[in-house]
Symmetry: C2
Subunit: 410 residues, 2 copies
């Protein structure tokens, strides 16, 4: 069987499984996720052995590739949590009557078949499967080749869990070959079988997806996030928030990459902030460097998602210039203002056109769990369908159900 | 200036205008739409003269291309109605508190810049401009070349209305050349300026858009809509609804193209339905033809959006076979069941995965106005972002506004 034939077959199976999942009850979907969690834990020996092979073969040693019993337990616990989340399939979002008596309801439905393309985090295999199942979607997983042995072993466990719960095994399928052409096939939609592609990975993957996708994409672009320290900021709060926003975890998409600070407050506020950023390299514009010694920033710095202990520092002349900088260099992810002035905050929150805008809080709160969504499959930086953290509810769509008594249209 | 340079310049102007529209008040946007309506009516002489030239040059005479004073007045009245619709920009959709005190609100925002590509209906020029303005979006219009003189004349009036209301003229721009390469440029997004493409036109346009678009598309595919007459249907209601669903207007996307009817009820119900479909050509399967004389249907008929007084008729063995037929041949637009049996209706409404599913009502109700949306720019048959009638609210997105008191993430 050629790769294309095999993938088209997976697409057809996924569509049939999606129809079954749509008809299943919320309890059945929950039971399926719990069974997947149990099977994952029961298979831990095989999964860890597969992961050891992945680690041995890896050319670069990313910590994110590594599994151990503790991490596997955390994945199983995450699945149990997803099993406990509310199931929104079938929920009426709105319902109204028209003057002619027609009764119209907007009802949540699953999207259908989701193609999930990710890199070397084996945990995504389980998380994505559970979030898709929670929202009634079937999923075709495409793991990065570095993590393929681990992902296949995890997938084997998930399949056994589905079977045990009486759900179709094709609800969660995985591409078994590392051949990169499989990605191209998924991006072309498998002859209409795939409703939505979710890529999770670095810039090269995102660019390929944008170029080749012929089906809708829920994109997770870079997070060039900004924290703007306004002249009316509380100095201690500013220092604590900036430290957390940058350094709590530098590798997450919600970490702050550029600090904006009011020009007329830089001399007063920047030294304390810089002191709080112990171990972080600063790169600043001229005025910032005249206050705190640091490397000069270049144009490229304003565009860069460092994902490292590096922070660009730019001085601005008030809220409007901060908004303007964000509009020019931001990626529409998450931006925060630190100020005690409610009018300045309101203006910033209104004017910044990003998925998440914050007032007096750390940009590292950009996370589905922190938002109360229970789980997330990524943070969408596009503007369509879902924006910000993507949890189970964001993987649903809706249909209109119209109930009449014989009405015809005049 | 080359076409590409000109279009990129339009894209940049549209982005700036979008930022201004986002900041404008709902009242300013309403005033802008009212001023556009007034200017349209004031310019009626010039617009009708331009339309007369379009009509003279047209190779095929579509009624939809023709304007007269009555139709122009109807367009102006439609704009007045849109001016009176609620403005949802800035509306809080949800708001909740997290245990750590963070206050999270989900707030409606405009999408940004919309690219509207349409064919020879000059009224779309005004309707699309008003719906986009209502929802705070700027728009770049691309009229079909057959209607270009009319569309340019209408656009001139809209621009004057915007200026009179103190809104940026670049909020509503139109591509002035009939060069088809302009469509390609729009579909590639004008260097990131366009957030969403909305195509309205025939199959060739939709296919080109699907092939070439590099930005999200809110697609309006064909409406191969079904009305399913269940064995427990009221015979008179079935005949009236099927007649209306097919014949009220055959050229709209919500008109029924295939009648499904229970095999065991065909002899009882089909003659009355056929009698009600006076002037409509029927094409049926073998059993249907044994009850009522008609032409034989071929496989192609089940796929066809006739947009003409032609109806395909297929007999099925109960709800599940009807659902299966719709899943195979439908386009996900609108499907209805006619029955007095609530259980059969519930099963159909649940199982059919279309944007609109109806019980005992005519599929011709598939319309934003009939749904109470006040206006529509089309009916989306995709599953993402918006589905079904697309009114002003469906042209918005949202952002999360997070208010804290210095919270940092543990």
């Amino acid at each position: 069987m050629t790769l294309e034939t095999e993938l088209l077959q997976m697409g057809r199976s996924a569509r049939l499984a999606a129809a079954e999942l749509r008809s299943a009850s919320a309890e059945q979907r929950s039971a399926g996720i719990r069974a997947m969690a149990r099977a994952l834990w029961a298979d831990r020996g095989g999964i860890l052995a597969a992961n050891a092979e992945d680690m041995k073969a890896a050319t670069v040693h990313h910590d994110r590739l590594r599994l151990d019993e503790e991490r596997l337990e955390a994945i199983a616990v995450a699945l149990e949590q997803i099993a406990g989340l509310p199931d929104s399939v079938g929920v009426e979002m709105e319902r109204w009557q028209r003057p002619n008596g027609l009764d119209i309801a907007r009802v949540r439905t699953p999207i259908g078949v989701i193609g999930m393309i990710y890199e070397s985090r084996p945990n995504v295999t389980a998380d994505a499967a559970a979030i898709c199942l929670r929202s009634g979607n079937s999923v075709i997983l495409r793991s990065g080749s570095e993590a393929l042995r681990s992902s296949l072993a995890i997938h084997g466990a998930l399949e056994r869990g589905l079977a045990e719960a009486g759900l179709p095994e094709a609800a969660v399928q995985i591409v078994r070959t590392p051949d990169r052409e499989a990605v191209g096939q998924l991006l072309r939609g498998l002859d209409g079988a795939i409703d939505l592609i979710i890529p999770r990975g670095g810039r090269a993957l995102v660019e390929r997806v944008q170029q080749d996708a012929r089906v809708p994409v829920l994109g997770h672009l870079e997070g060039v996030c900004h924290t703007y320290v306004h002249s009316a900021a509380d100095p201690q709060m500013a220092a604590e928030i900036v430290r957390n926003a940058k350094l709590r975890r530098v590798s997450v998409c919600g970490s702050t990459e550029t600090l904006l600070i009011d020009r007329d407050a830089a001399a007063r506020l920047l030294p304390e902030i810089a002191a709080a950023l112990d171990g972080c390299e600063l790169r600043g514009d001229e005025l910032a460097r005249s206050v705190v010694p640091m490397e000069p920033a270049t144009e490229a710095d304003w565009h860069t998602e460092y994902l490292a202990p590096v922070l660009a520092v730019r001085t601005v002349d008030g809220v409007d210039e901060a908004v303007q900088h964000i509009a020019t260099y931001g990626t529409g992810h998450t931006e925060a203002i630190i100020t005690e002035d409610p009018a300045a905050a309101a203006h910033f929150l209104d004017q910044v056109d990003s998925a998440i805008v914050m007032w007096n809080a750390s940009t590292q709160f950009a996370d589905g769990g922190e938002f109360g969504f229970g789980a997330e499959i990524g943070i969408a930086t596009g503007k369509l369908h879902a924006r910000g953290p993507v949890g189970p509810e964001q993987l649903t769509t809706f249909k209109y159900v119209v109930r009449g008594e014989g009405q015809v249209r005049p």
